[in-house]
């Protein structure tokens, strides 16, 4: 709620209130405030803005993390396609969010959706200041941060959502069809959910709490992935007729591990930056706690996932341990500002267990999620949003309403889009391309062209 309110205040009609407040403070400050050496207007503005930029850059880095995690997890024959898809995702998401998405999410949100206009940009006062009108500075400063620094930070979030989908349905989805889905997700679907919440819409009004997006970013991505998985079906030969499951271990463990480390690092920006301000001692204290809790939850997720991987999956599983980090991170994301840090350990550890169990459940349901995105992002996203009511003071009922509303919308809308794509341009590559691999079959560039690879065995799957 704190996050939603801030966003609302800063980006919408509340600006008037801020201006009044700021002007009020300006007249009072010389008398009382200077003596305490408080952070003042312009300094606050610069610090808030710089925090958005630095943390936002780290969140952009998460897209590299997803790329490495996914391209190392798939068969070598599909790894180039993952690289192309992920750099494409980040590019399309950034353009779509600039052209339409941000406006739908944040500009004049009236309960359900923002303004349907194209492009976004600096405020009039910022343009005046850039143009040399020093007198525009006070109005610029009254916004609390540079307009486009917030846009930058929100943009890297939408890219994250899209990245989550990519890995789940890898190794069989057509590239252009996937790009089309990405475009719709980042220009329309995610912004609508964002408008309800961080944009100040109806869920925000109810008091829904989702500090950095366990539900808004991660579950949304997870629901979109789940819908895609149901529409597209498992990879050829993954679930054999005799009931056994073909093992598909990561093809490059080092690259997967690098991806997880990148995501862990990027998450400091994801959660830390979601404090949305750095202009006071309060913000600095809160941001510090957020980083600490984020790290503790991830660490607990790893340890818990490793510990339960043997009983649940039959062996100590490195991939479960790596996913445990993601699980812990997603779980803490709805309430990383909890005061008692041991809560972060508990929340992350439960996330790690849930994710490991979820990998098993999905396999039992014959849903073929290549990287475990649904357990890590959807399941732990739900858990994290509930946990925020236990540890961070959110109202349980409201959290459930939020989870259900976002889930219903994200899943149904995604399902419809996936179906429409499937019925028109087609969603899945041909069996021949799938067997050969998308790299040589669809793209013409192998990931490791000089390396001698072992041929993959195919059975009676068709």
């Amino acid at each position: 709620m704190e996050l939603a309110q801030r966003n609302r205040v800063f980006t919408k009609s509340g600006i008037a209130a801020v201006v009044v407040l700021t002007l009020g403070l300006l007249f009072l400050r010389p008398l009382v405030v200077h003596a305490a050496g408080l952070v003042e207007g312009e300094t606050q503005f610069v610090l808030n803005t710089f925090a958005f930029l630095v943390w936002g850059a780290l969140v952009m880095w998460m897209c590299a993390g997803f790329t490495m995690l996914e391209s190392g997890a798939v068969r070598t024959k599909n790894a180039s396609m993952i690289c192309l898809k992920n750099i494409g995702i980040y590019s399309i998401a950034g353009l779509a969010y600039f052209i339409l998405g941000y406006n739908l999410m944040y500009v004049d949100v009236g309960g359900f959706i923002g303004r349907f206009t194209i492009f976004y940009g600096s405020s009039t006062s910022e343009l005046a200041l850039l143009g040399g009108a020093a007198g525009a500075a006070p109005e610029v400063v009254s916004n609390g941060f540079a307009v486009m620094s917030d846009w930058f930070f929100q943009m890297v979030f939408v890219a994250t959502t899209a990245s989550i989908v990519s890995g789940a349905i890898a190794e069989r989805v057509k590239m252009w069809s996937f790009f089309l889905f990405t475009l719709i997700l980042t220009a329309v679907l995610y912004p609508i959910i964002g408008a309800w919440t961080w944009g100040g819409g109806w869920l925000s009004e109810m008091g829904f709490v989702d500090f950095a997006g366990s539900t808004i970013v991660h579950s949304t991505g997870g629901w979109a992935a789940l819908a895609g998985l149901i529409v597209i079906g498992p990879r050829l030969g993954k679930f054999r007729k005799d009931g056994s499951v073909k093992p598909t271990p990561p093809s490059n463990v080092l690259v997967v591990t690098l991806g997880v480390f990148i995501l862990w690092l990027g998450w400091f920006g994801f959660n830390g930056g979601s404090q949305l301000a750095l202009g006071s001692a309060l913000d600095a204290v809160a941001m510090s706690n957020v980083l600490v809790n984020t790290n503790l939850a991830a660490a607990a997720g790893v340890v818990a996932a490793l510990a339960v991987s043997r009983p649940l999956l039959g062996n100590m599983d490195l991939f479960a341990g790596l996913n445990g980090a993601i699980a812990g991170l997603v779980s803490i994301t709805a309430g990383p500002n909890v005061n008692d840090h041991w809560w972060a350990i508990i929340i992350g550890a439960i996330g790690g267990v849930l994710c490991t169990a979820g990998i098993k459940w999905l396999t039992q349901l014959k849903i073929d999620d290549v990287v475990g995105a649904v357990p890590a992002h959807l399941l732990c996203g739900i858990w994290g949003t509930l946990a925020a009511s236990i540890a961070a003071g959110a109202q349980l009922g409201v959290q459930i309403v939020g989870i259900l509303a976002v889930g219903a919308f994200a899943f149904i809308a995604s399902y419809i889009v996936w179906r429409l794509i499937d019925m028109t341009v087609g969603l899945r590559v041909s069996k021949q391309v799938e067997r050969m691999g998308q790299d040589s079959g669809e793209l013409g560039i192998e990931a490791y062209p000089e390396f001698v690879l072992m041929p993959e065995e195919f059975g009676d799957e068709d």
Copy 2:
């Protein structure tokens, strides 16, 4: 120009003016400024300095990006050599710029070149402050930023320039010969171009605009690479006698992709830090716009390059798409502070198209640029510098003068150095080493010693 002027003011004779201005402000501020909560002297100093350090660290990270891009792009038999060359480049550049380069570029620049002295270091007042003389603080603060924070930021730029050259002429240049060229480039050639522009020399006086170095960094690197390519010639067997071209796809696509993501992230530091200040709302707003434009241009470069790769190159080309990101980034670098963000999209998209076409043109000219450095850095560097006159208010004529002057100097001087190296210590490895690969032939360390690799075919090339 803004950049050049700032640099000039801060690093040279303009310091006196700053001191006077600052002192003037100090007496006025308690009356008028405090009321508005402006960023003041020491806070401004700390913020400016910290921005140099944080963004500079990200620019250093670009050297890892070039290393990954290049080592994943070459044949496996030359990948270790690329790793060694790139860590060597960054080391040599850092030392050469400390010992001589920075002085030539920024100290007492008199039109064409700075001072020919060795070493650089903290100012006298900084040393006094570090030594305990608190009274030195005002003089320290009057510089606007810590002296060595600027040095750090400028140093990582020169390393970038050298990195550009490495990939183009890979797989056949002798290691020590290349290091020798790097030394001359970073100690003398780049600093001279830098003195003309950011150092406040004649091009800066004319009003040449190059915000973060489309020409100064990227074209300079591209010209040096082109000269090297002409002197050294193509790899054995690349251009066959029957007129066909031997395909040499990246040997490790994941590593190339990682490299591009690293470069993209680092570019936020490259362009964002080139605002050269963070001590006011104006700087914070400008820096935000710079990051947004940088990202939009890169995204547009990817999409445009992918879109035109099929008509231009015959297939959807991942490597063209990845180079499209670099192309968009280079293109926006001369004017990333443009106010209308859709200009960034246009500039980046044109860059992506140019780069893809450039890859084709170079091949037609039988110039063998292993990683596409010339199209991405030289061609897009020129385009970006011109674009700054369209979108960011630079004067077209001056921009052309700058492009030509820097190009002529960088190309001719590099050509002479390459030729001299070739005539003395030799530039190219033996045919035997080239066939065997530099890793086992020159270095004795293979990149992937335990992996079974496919033997490379050689034809009638000699």
Copy 3:
């Protein structure tokens, strides 16, 4: 000493003094200080805190660097295990330091050790501020930085120490045994050494200088590694009966190189953040010099190691060059705030030579350090700590006492723990697992399952 004193002042009984000082300044400032625009209370607090968080995030990134360096350096058959061990290390270290380690190191340190209590968290005044009591702000601010931002920064340091050990004894240590050692190292051993020094204990009282931990972090890790190496013995077949040494070059040079670049980048946070403050011009100047010296020392380490690798090791050695970077970085870490930057070059260069020679010495002693951790971290850690007395004003005698005391404690305590583990749960995997590789033998997940690898030759080693 500066570092130790700061830490002491901030984290322990000195807080009262700070409060008095701060209150005193608050009354004086409106009269004299405002005129100079100094950084004041809350702004200082925010800047100090943000520096901890940003630089701390970069230090966390070093764990990814160690993971890449080590997993690329080992045989392919053990690379997955390295990935698992390193993500496990970082998780265990973070939890152990939260539960116990930080308290032992920094809370109420009475000469030899801090308080034996569990958990750590925000101060009472911070909790009040977070809870809405705006009046708590001055007390919060008087601490100088957010309590948990310092915890975060210290936590990533302990993780680094543990990472150093991992690579040295790779390819034969049992996973759970190694995790047990990590737990003891990070919860107890490292914190005790930390209490003596940065915690304000007896070595700090004597005036021992170790700015960012050449001894405290790197030598400690190196001693623990050396003890482990002696207890566990060399890999099967490394030292042959005929006196020859089996070459074990890195199995993936690109990944090793990436690891070194990550470490280099992370080191800017490691050393830069160890200034422990950013709230004044003095701090900003010092931090700038620290980053510059760190970079110069690393660069000099690379160049020196490459130069001496041919005479010392028989050929130009890439791995020696890469380790030269680490060596230069470790060497400058005890005194990166030296004013004359050419000292950093000398210190780093000597470190590079020492490390290369150390690789040779260890081999002659038949100690099988897989990644050269002992030469790079222990030998250069000692050198760096001595160098701080030459260049950075420390007392040579005190430095020697510190090196010996920390060395004796770290080596003996580690040796005992390794022995106890060996005698109880066992330290080394079976010969069969070692031959097969830990990935398939112990973990069940190969690092590169689809790649055709060359079989390893084993001789008469058993």
